[in-house]
Every structure is written in structure tokens, then in C-alpha cells.
């Protein structure tokens, strides 16, 4: 039923255009019914996009190869779960998913955030409508997922890299993150358009921003895990442009989440916060452009298409339009208060913001320079790992240190005496940890040693914050320790949830430093019965087998792993041959040691005709802390996101008179 899909998209496009026109006119002329009608159009656009997505999903599941999209990205033998995930396996389906998530977010935001005030929402709707109109225009006129042709006997199948459980979650989570940043952008623009630049837009978008940031973070970690297990080169992040495309808006959103606290607490940085929201949203569009335009080659860029110029035009429109609006409203955004001291919490947030934005912009330059070079000089250049590693160390290590300093410094100003007392124990702990690591032989990598020392310092500050807070709560309310701890977190969810997220970043830093600065790698050609020694592991190649799976021929080697004379594991690295897709994939074998966080990583680089195999063995110390960081990050984000009834009541009183009747 491609006609139903097309009709649903045309209806969605019409509704989005109506939300723009009626929304702007209704807000401008203060016509309530017109503004409400525009809100309804946004909700109806979501339902239409859902119908279109449903039609495509049914076609994918039933292998209706008369849909060009279905035949291009699935085959009869493809397992059902991958038929479903093929919805975002190609450009047209991805754009449809973008539209579905966008209209879903838009409808939910305008329905749930009415407390922000009717006249603010009235201006938010047309901004969301503009973005929805752009994406629905793309799927109606430029890259339709409902194009049809004479049905072939079988489809071309799904890119084998996408046939992974991580790919079932990674792209939708990234989209939830990318698209989620539209909500704070729309509220920020709504505030500027309406001239109501008080804190309502921040209050209304706090959770949306946090949720989008959380999805982007988890999506990236799942992407890293996918790269680690599926791409099979032994690493998890290669500074690939498409990986960077997701990292940049996350960094900008991280900066915003910190600086917005300064606006809430001190009424400062109003212009800066607007700029960060514009930057984060523009980078999320840029990320989608990089992934979907085919402008660069990347292991993640699975499609090439004609949407590039449209995207570039829209990004220019968004940046120019929002900056012009911000410039026009500058007088409304002047702050009454100033930074009192360079040694204060707000100052550390400012330093943190400068470092995050600097890191974000250097990555942006690394991504765009090759594209610009090719466009201007016709020369293809590559910005490689050393460039990114240099800036990650230059900005990332001070950021890690600031994560420990910030929470210990008081708002407004702090005396040196007070700082000396507060910093004593964490500082001492960091120094002792650093000295201990040097003694243990970890001094071979200076960046690694600095990262570990800073991580120890930050860990100590986090533990100290929880311990002191619990003790204070216990003294105040006379509660037992577990209850005092629980009520401490429950009463200050954003602060203590934030500390849990900081703990996740510490784990991430330790994992990244350990696996990149202290890894070991060996390559060898082995015949059956021969062995390879890597650090304290001995690997013996025993056997090679081929089996037929549902849609692939699987070749697996059998490797016995010995340590200290004991056989501790049997591993099966190999390759998969996908006949329909005509692709061969590396299927790595990984043995994780959860006590030490270390991985033994085996790659079958080549199976030779004489039966020998070229193996690569890598030891990645502490790499599992990266995945553990994902779990802790999720926990901290959920604590921070959890609604606070007292806060809700306070805001309801503050904005009560502005809220509409429902």
C-alpha cells in the first residue's frame, strides 16, 4: 500500500505547513483558536507520520519488494528483527524516522509543557512546524521511502555491519538525541519571538534537553560497542566524521546543561545559553547531514543521496535566522548580575563551558576541513587521529580536573583558606594515586598517568560530596545513614544525579586511558597446533570449521587460551560470508575479565588456502569500564530526570497565572 504511505506523508507535510502559517499568524495576532488549531496540526502530523512509518514497517516485515526501499535494504532470508531495523538502514527510512520522532517530540512538548504559558507555546509551535515541514518535504519530494518498481524475486539485503543487536538500538537512540535537541531550540526561539526571555523556556525544556542528551550519550556508547564488536579492528572510537557528528551536539548540550544552571542560580549567561542551544541544534542537523548526504566516506555512512544541498540550505537558514533573531532580542537578554570572583562555582562552569565548546569546535574543524579542502582546492585531505588526540588531551584533561574542582567551590566566591580545607583530602588522594601508579609502572604514558591521577581526584571529591551530604542530612533530621543518603539524593536530584554522571565520566576516562595508552597488540600466522604469546596469555590454534547460518556461511577458528599453565577459555574468532549481500565480515572473539576490566580481543585477519590463519591478538586493559560507564551514566541521568514534586509545585505557583485552562 505505498499510496497510503505517500498520502500520509503528503498530509503530514500539509499539516506541518499549516502549523507554521497558522502558528505564526495566530501568535502574532494573538488569536487563540488559530494558535490551538496549529497545535492540533502538529499532533495530527505526528499521527500521519506514524501511519507512514507503519506502512513501511509492514512492507519490510512482509518483504514487499515492490517498494524500492524494501528491496534495497532487505532480503527474504534476513531475520525478522533486521527486517524491522532496516527501517533506519537506508536514507529514506532514516528521514522518515527523523520525522516521526520530531513530530512525536513536538506533539508531546506542546501538550505537556502548557504550564510554560500559552503565549510562549503559541510561538514554539511554528518553530517546530518549520523543522517538521523541512523533513516532510524531504520524504515527500526528494527521498521518498514509498517509491515503487517491478518487484524483484529477492532483495539486496541489509549491509552486514548493520546486522548487529547494537544496531537495533544505536540509530534510534541517536535520533532520539539529535531530534530531541529540537525541543529546547524551539522553546528558545519561541522565547525570542515572543520577547518573553524569562526562565520559562528553560524550565519547560530542562527535561527535554536532559533526555536528548542522555539518549545521545547512550546512543554513542552503544555505537562504540558496536564498532568494538562488529567492525573488528580492536578499537571502539576512530574519530570517524560520523562518530564525531554525534559527539559534537552532545558536547554542546553538555555545555548548555552546565551553563543553564548559572542562569537559573545567578541570572547570568542568557545570551551564551541561547547560543549553545542554537549550536547544539545546528550540530544535530549537521550530524544528520554528514550521515545521510554522502558528502564523506565513513564506515557509518551507509547511503549516498541527493539531500545534501537541501540540508546545507536548511542549516544555513536555521543558523542565520536564529542568530538574527538573537541579535534583535539582545537588549532583553542583558544580565543584571556579574561574575563576582574567578574562584567561584559559576566561574568553574564558565571554564568548563569554554573547554567543552573549544573541544566541540576543534572537532568541527577536523570534520569540515577535508570537505572544504575538497570543495575549494579539489584536494582530498584527511584529519587523522593525532589531531583529535592532541585536542582531546589539551581540553579533555583540564575538563576532567574541573569536574573535581567545580563541586567543591562555593557559588559567588570562595576564600583560599576555605578552598585549602575542602581540597585537602581529594588532592592528597589524587597525589597518592598518581605516585602509586608511577611506582606500579604506569608512568610509560604521561597522558594516561595524568588521566588516572585526575580521575582519582574527581572520585575522591564525589565520594566526599556524598559522604558530607549524608552526614549533614543525618545530623539535621536524625535519620539512619541509608535513609539520610536516600533523602539527600531525593531532595537534590539534579545535583547528586549530576555527581553520578560525573562518576560515569571518570569510569569512561579510566577506560579510555587504559585501553588506548596501555594496550598491547601482536600479529602472527599460525598453522594448527601452533601458538602465540601475548603478555601472560598463550593462544593455541586448534581447529577451523564452517557452518551454514540463516543468511551467512560462518567460518570459525578454535583457539585455546592459557594463562599460568591453565586453560582459561576457548575462543572462536572468524569470518561470516553473506552470499546475498556479497559481503564478508570479521567476527571477532572477545574474552572479558570483569575483575580487571581487561579484554583479550582476537581477530581472524585472513584465512589462507593452506589452512594457516593470520591472527591479531589485542589486550585492552580496563576497556570494560567504558561499558560500565554507560550503565552509571544512565543511572545518573535517570536520577537527574526524575520529577521533583516540590519543585513542580513551586513552579506551578510561579507560572500558575500564566498557564492556560485545560
Amino acid at each position: 500500500m505505498p499510496e497510503l504511505g505517500r498520502a500520509a506523508l503528503v498530509v503530514c507535510f500539509g499539516l506541518a505547513l499549516y502549523a507554521v502559517g497558522a502558528g505564526f499568524w495566530g501568535a502574532h495576532t494573538r488569536r487563540r483558536r488559530l494558535a490551538l488549531s496549529a497545535q492540533n496540526a502538529l499532533v495530527a502530523a505526528f499521527l500521519s507520520a506514524a501511519v507512514a512509518a507503519g506502512v513501511l514497517l509492514v512492507a519490510l516485515i512482509t518483504s514487499d519488494f515492490s517498494f524500492t526501499y524494501v528491496s534495497a535494504f532487505t532480503s527474504r532470508e534476513l531475520p525478522l528483527t533486521y527486517k524491522i531495523t532496516a527501517l533506519w538502514g537506508g536514507q529514506e527510512g532514516s528521514l522518515l524516522l527523523w520525522l516521526l520522532v520530531l513530530t512525536g517530540y513536538g506533539a508531546a512538548a506542546v501538550l505537556l509543557d502548557r504550564k510554560a504559558g500559552r503565549e510562549l507555546i503559541a510561538w514554539v509551535v511554528p518553530v517546530l512546524g518549520v523543522v517538521a515541514a523541512f523533513f516532510s518535504m524531504l520524504v515527500v519530494f526528494v527521498a521518498s521511502p514509498f517509491a515503487t518498481h517491478a518487484a524483484p524475486a529477492d532483495g539486496l539485503g541489509l549491509n552486514t555491519s548493520l546486522q548487529s543487536p547494537y544496531m537495533q538500538a544505536h540509530p534510534p537512540l541517536l535520533y532520539l538525541g539529535y531530534v530531541g535537541l529540537t525541543v529546547p531550540f524551539a522553546f528558545a526561539m519561541g522565547a525570542l519571538l515572543s520577547g518573553r526571555t524569562d526562565e520559562r523556556w528553560i524550565v519547560a525544556t530542562r527535561r527535554w534537553t536532559l533526555a536528548a542528551w542522555m539518549f545521545l550519550g547512550i546512543g554513542q556508547l552503544l555505537g562504540a560497542k558496536w564498532a568494538y564488536e562488529e567492525v573488528g579492528w580492536g578499537g571502539y572510537y576512530a574519530w570517524d566524521p560520523v562518530e564525531n557528528a554525534a559527539l559534537m551536539p552532545w558536547l554542546a548540550a553538555t555545555a548548555f546543561l552546565h551553563s543553564v544552571m548559572v542562569q537559573e542560580k545567578k541570572g547570568m549567561l542568557k545570551v551564551w545559553n541561547m547560543l549553545l542551544v542554537i549550536l547544539a541544534f545546528s550540530l544535530s542537523l549537521f550530524g544528520t547531514f554528514l550521515t545521510r548526504s554522502g558528502v564523506l566516506s565513513s564506515i557509518h555512512s551507509f547511503t549516498e543521496g541527493s539531500i545534501g544541498p537541501w540540508f546545507l540550505g536548511f542549516i544555513c537558514f536555521v543558523v542565520a535566522g536564529s542568530l538574527a533573531l538573537l541579535f534583535r532580542r539582545l537588549p532583553l537578554l542583558r544580565s543584571k548580575t556579574k561574575l563576582e570572583s574567578l574562584v567561584s562555582r559559576e566561574a568553574t562552569f564558565l571554564y568548563n563551558n569554554l573547554l567543552l565548546v573549544a573541544l566541540c569546535l576543534t572537532i568541527l574543524w577536523g570534520v569540515t576541513f577535508p570537505i572544504l579542502s575538497e570543495a575549494v582546492r579539489g584536494e582530498s585531505v584527511t584529519v587523522g587521529r593525532p589531531y583529535y588526540d592532541f585536542f582531546l588531551r589539551s581540553f579533555g584533561l583540564p575538563l576532567l580536573l574541573l569536574m573535581g574542582i567545580g563541586p567543591l567551590v562555593a557559588w559567588r566566591r570562595a576564600s583560599l583558606r576555605s578552598l585549602g580545607r575542602t581540597f585537602l583530602w581529594p588532592f592528597a588522594f589524587g597525589l597518592v594515586a598518581g605516585g602509586g601508579l608511577v611506582a606500579a609502572g604506569a608512568g610509560s604514558s604521561l597522558p594516561g598517568l595524568i588521566a588516572y591521577t585526575f580521575a582519582a581526584f574527581v572520585t575522591a571529591t564525589i565520594v566526599l560530596e556524598f559522604a558530607r551530604g549524608t552526614a549533614a542530612r543525618r545530623a539535621l533530621a536524625g535519620e539512619p545513614v541509608p535513609r539520610a543518603f536516600a533523602s539527600l539524593v531525593a531532595r537534590n536530584r539534579r545535583r547528586y544525579g549530576g555527581y553520578v554522571v560525573h562518576a560515569a565520566i571518570v569510569l569512561l576516562a579510566i577506560g579510555v586511558a587504559g585501553s588506548s595508552a596501555y594496550d598491547t597488540s601482536h600479529t602472527a600466522r599460525l598453522a594448527k597446533g601452533q601458538s602465540l604469546k601475548v603478555r601472560d596469555y598463550t593462544l593455541v590454534y586448534r581447529d577451523l570449521r564452517r557452518t551454514r547460518a540463516q543468511n551467512a556461511v560462518e567460518t570459525r577458528a578454535t583457539i585455546d587460551v592459557y594463562r599460568g599453565g591453565d586453560r582459561i577459555a576457548v575462543m572462536h574468532p572468524g569470518k561470516n560470508n553473506y552470499p546475498v549481500e556479497q559481503q564478508i565480515s570479521n567476527e571477532v572473539a572477545i574474552r572479558s575479565d570483569w575483575l580487571t576490566g581487561e579484554d583479550l580481543f582476537l581477530i581472524t585477519e585472513q584465512v589462507n588456502p593452506n589452512g594457516t590463519i593470520d591472527f591479531k591478538a589485542i589486550i585492552n586493559p580496563l576497556v570494560n569500564l567504558i561499558w560500565l560507564a554507560g550503565v552509571v551514566f544512565l543511572l545518573g541521568s535517570v536520577v537527574t530526570l526524575w520529577p521533583d514534586a516540590r519543585e513542580e509545585r513551586r513552579l506551578a505557583v510561579r507560572y500558575g497565572r500564566l498557564a492556560p485552562e485545560t
Binding site: 497510503l4 505517500r6 498520502a7 488549531s37 496540526a41 495530527a44 524569562d198 560530596e465 552526614a471 513551586r650
Partner: protein, 108 residues
């Protein structure tokens, strides 16, 4: 046959969308009240309430940081006075504003 059914379903979707979008206009004309822009007094009240909440939250945080030992006694003494004054100023200004609004509403 399938094509016709798809087109009919598409048409129904369009009609349902138009009905849903037109719903606010289908209600009685009495419901057409304009979008109320907060007046100057209302905006000032909002700004003062934000100022008051900011000062009170800062006071609460300072008290807590002092209790946990993060803020020394000297720093506490030098900061608490300013914050209390800021909160009191915002509360007084809010009371004045409420009084003026009450007077205006009685006169009106």
C-alpha cells in the same frame, strides 16, 4: 483493489486531520478569547519571583554547603548577609507589586 483501498484510507486520514485541526473553530464563538500577553505588572511580578526564588535557593544551598564544611565560617558570614538582603528585597518588592495590583483592581 488495494490501491483504491489505500487511496480511500489516505482520504480518510486527510479528512480526520482537517477535522482535528478545525476543532478549535468548531467550538462556540464564546471560547474565542485572545491570547493574553502578560502585562508589564505581570512580567515584573514574574521577574521578582524568579529573583526571590533564586535568592532563597542560594541561601538554602549556602546553608547546606556551610553545614557540610564546604563553606568556611568566614565565607558564610560574608555571603549570608547579601543573600538575605537580596531575598528580603525581592519579597518586599513583590509585596509592593501585589499591593499596587490590588489597588488598581479595586479602582478598576
Amino acid at each position: 483493489m488495494l490501491t483504491t483501498a489505500a487511496l480511500v484510507l489516505g482520504g480518510l486520514l486527510a479528512v480526520a486531520a482537517v477535522w482535528f485541526v478545525a476543532r478549535p473553530f468548531l467550538r462556540s464563538p464564546a471560547s474565542e478569547e485572545p491570547l493574553v500577553e502578560p502585562g508589564r505588572a505581570e512580567r515584573e511580578r514574574l521577574a521578582l519571583e524568579e529573583e526571590r526564588d533564586r535568592a532563597l535557593a542560594a541561601l538554602k544551598e549556602l546553608e547546606f554547603d556551610h553545614r557540610t564544611g564546604k563553606v568556611s565560617d568566614d565565607d558564610y558570614r560574608s555571603l549570608v548577609g547579601e543573600l538575605r538582603r537580596a531575598a528580603a528585597d525581592a519579597l518586599r518588592a513583590l509585596d509592593r507589586g501585589r499591593g499596587q495590583i490590588d489597588v488598581r483592581s479595586r479602582e478598576g
